[in-house]
């Protein structure tokens, strides 16, 4: 991964931030390019996300304004107060269904180095509202860039000191050292996302295999960490029944279903404008060229397929886990 970073853009404002300096030290050969605001590089029009994905750069920036936001309705795992925050924009993996490609113009990784400001905002929200959930893997994968960002390494001690703040780390990554090296936190859930083998092979470029993810989740569970399972997006195919049944069996061969913290399901769906951008980037992708429909501004599988998949997967999963851990998600997620 580190070999891939050849350019690092650094906002003038964070040039001397200790996290910036530590990251720059890790990439002595990368070209350093100063910029005033990350948007000058990241938000420019006429950029091609797919071309940039060949060789993304890293942008180190400060997150200004409100850093922790209420989640959209339909996003959550049962808590009453739900917030999300993005210490990073974009992801080292390349999932063809990922809504980030529709949302951002650039594939560069933006890392907001002012973790301390996120933490103080989370602390104030919790002090004001009491028990609250904070979702970290919305605009990125929470752990995929951990060796570079030290995100978990920094945030886990913070959450350890704030028991009313609950953290979800949403990931497909398998480097879990930052978690395994410390005592598990009762207010943190590590949520692993899965699609079946066939969908993984076709749609998830650079993502660790399903079996490696299962192994990583099982190791964490054995070490006492709470594990969540995210089947989001559900991908329709002729053999979806066998594929999902096989996936669930593989997972519960390794994980103790009784200890699973939460399970959420969500069908593939994207806002229309995001979908159009995604389609332009990958017209040869079967998923995007296939039968999809627009409903209420969202593009998704036909309603009957969605219902079939959700019903089937719910029934199958109920063989392993209780209803109380189930959540349906209606917001695009990765």
């Amino acid at each position: 991964m580190s070999r891939a970073i050849r350019r690092i853009y650094v906002e003038d404002e964070v040039a001397d931030h200790p996290r910036t300096l530590a990251i720059l030290e890790r990439f002595p050969k990368a070209e350093r390019i100063s910029c005033e605001r990350y948007g000058e590089v990241f938000n420019r029009r006429t950029q091609d996300f797919r071309l940039q994905k060949r060789r993304p750069a890293l942008i180190l920036a400060r997150k200004h304004g409100t850093r922790v936001l209420p989640t959209p309705p339909g996003y959550g795992i049962g808590g009453e107060r739900n917030f999300y925050f993005s210490h990073m924009l974009n992801c080292v993996y390349d999932c063809r269904y990922c809504f980030l490609q529709g949302m951002f113009r650039s594939a560069h990784y933006v890392l907001f180095v002012n973790f301390e400001d996120f933490e103080s905002e989370i602390a104030s929200i919790t002090a004001r509202d009491g028990d609250s959930w904070f979702f970290s893997g919305y605009d990125c994968d929470s752990l995929a860039f951990e060796p570079i960002t030290g995100f978990a390494e920094s945030f886990l001690p913070f959450f350890a000191g704030h028991p009313a703040a609950h953290l979800e780390l949403r990931t497909k990554a398998v480097h879990t050292e930052a978690l395994l090296d410390r005592e598990p936190l009762s207010n943190c859930v590590v949520a692993y996302s899965f699609t079946p083998e066939a969908a993984h092979a076709e749609l998830e470029r650079g993502v660790p295999t399903v079996s490696r993810r299962i192994r990583a989740a099982a190791e964490l569970q054995a070490a006492g960490w709470k594990i969540g399972l995210r089947f989001d997006p559900l991908i329709y195919g002729d053999s979806f029944r066998e594929d999902y049944r096989g996936l669930f069996e593989s997972i519960f061969e390794s994980l103790d279903p009784a200890l699973v913290h939460s399970v959420s399901l969500g069908a593939f769906r994207l806002p229309k404008s995001y979908f159009e951008r995604l389609y332009r980037l990958h017209p040869e992708q079967r998923l995007l060229a296939g039968r999809l429909e627009e409903r209420d501004g969202m593009v998704s599988f036909p309603a009957e397929w969605e219902a079939e998949m959700t019903d089937f997967c719910t029934a199958e999963l109920r063989r392993w886990v209780g209803e109380e851990v189930f959540h349906l998600c209606t917001v695009p997620a990765g």
Partner: protein, 261 residues
């Protein structure tokens, strides 16, 4: 097609000869064409470079294109002849900056390029100082995606050796020496242009069907999307005119194609 803009004829000459370009027409800018490369000599300055981009975009042949600005510039202390691929371009006065992304391994060192309005001798910063990039780059952005636009500057003067030593022959020699780098960039840019071309190429059978029936603008867009989707979903069964032969209207054509999804 790769479209190259140089300010000076002396900068252009080695490139014209390397790619066997032929002079073309007698328009407001000197233009050269070859199979894969077109070149225009813009004259000195940002505005001239921007105008030359517009001219070449209008006069050029081919579909998706990539753009390259090649020229000389001054640097504080870099050795004469050093090539620099621009990773940041700052307009004169510092009011605006652009950051050309490199989605390939650059064939030479990279750095900032500072566009100035006149000859620079102070060289306060680390950048290469020159006079066109900040005109060329935003103009080319109107015609291509950022990844397909690059700026290459060759150091022609520095604090120790000023511009007074420069003449046409010397400029030619500096560019000539960097032809391998220019070659490398052209190869990378050609690959990008071909990728973009392939991705946006009209789907098979579009032109024939479009000619046979009368489609509204919206229907034509639908037709194109349907044919593209079918080419992805059913690549072994290309759409044939025969299978649409009995369709009485453009709407019926679209219906038939839809039924194959």
């Amino acid at each position: 097609m790769i479209r190259i803009v140089t300010a000076l004829a002396a900068e252009a000459r080695p490139i014209v000869s390397r790619f066997r370009l032929q002079p073309d027409g007698d328009g407001p800018f000197r233009l050269y064409r070859g199979d894969q490369v077109e070149l225009v000599v813009s004259g000195i300055g940002s505005s001239a470079a921007a105008a030359a981009v517009g001219y070449l975009a209008g006069a050029g042949a081919g579909r998706a294109s990539a753009w390259l600005n090649v020229g000389i510039g001054g640097h504080r202390d870099a050795t004469l002849g050093t090539p620099r691929l621009a990773n940041k371009i700052v307009a004169a006065g510092g009011a605006r900056a652009w950051y050309p992304p490199a989605v390939f391994e650059p064939p030479c060192g990279e750095g900032a390029v500072q566009t100035v309005d006149g000859v620079e001798s102070g060289f306060a910063g680390e950048a290469v100082y020159e006079m066109e990039a900040a005109g060329f780059y935003p103009a080319a952005l109107r015609f291509a995606t950022a990844e397909a636009i690059q700026v290459l500057k060759v150091v022609s003067d520095n604090r120790a050796t000023g511009t007074e030593h420069l003449n046409g022959a010397k400029v030619e020699e500096l560019i000539e020496r960097n032809l391998p780098v220019i070659d490398g960039l052209v190869t990378e840019l050609r690959e990008i242009a071909e990728f973009l071309d392939r991705r946006s190429a009209p789907p098979p059978a579009l032109a024939e069907i479009d000619q046979r029936w009368r489609f509204t603008v919206t229907q034509r867009r639908q037709l194109e999307r349907l044919l593209r989707r079918l080419a992805t979903l059913d690549p072994d069964r290309p759409v044939e005119l025969d299978e649409l032969a009995g369709a009485a209207s453009s709407r019926a054509v679209l219906e038939r194609l839809r039924s194959r999804l």
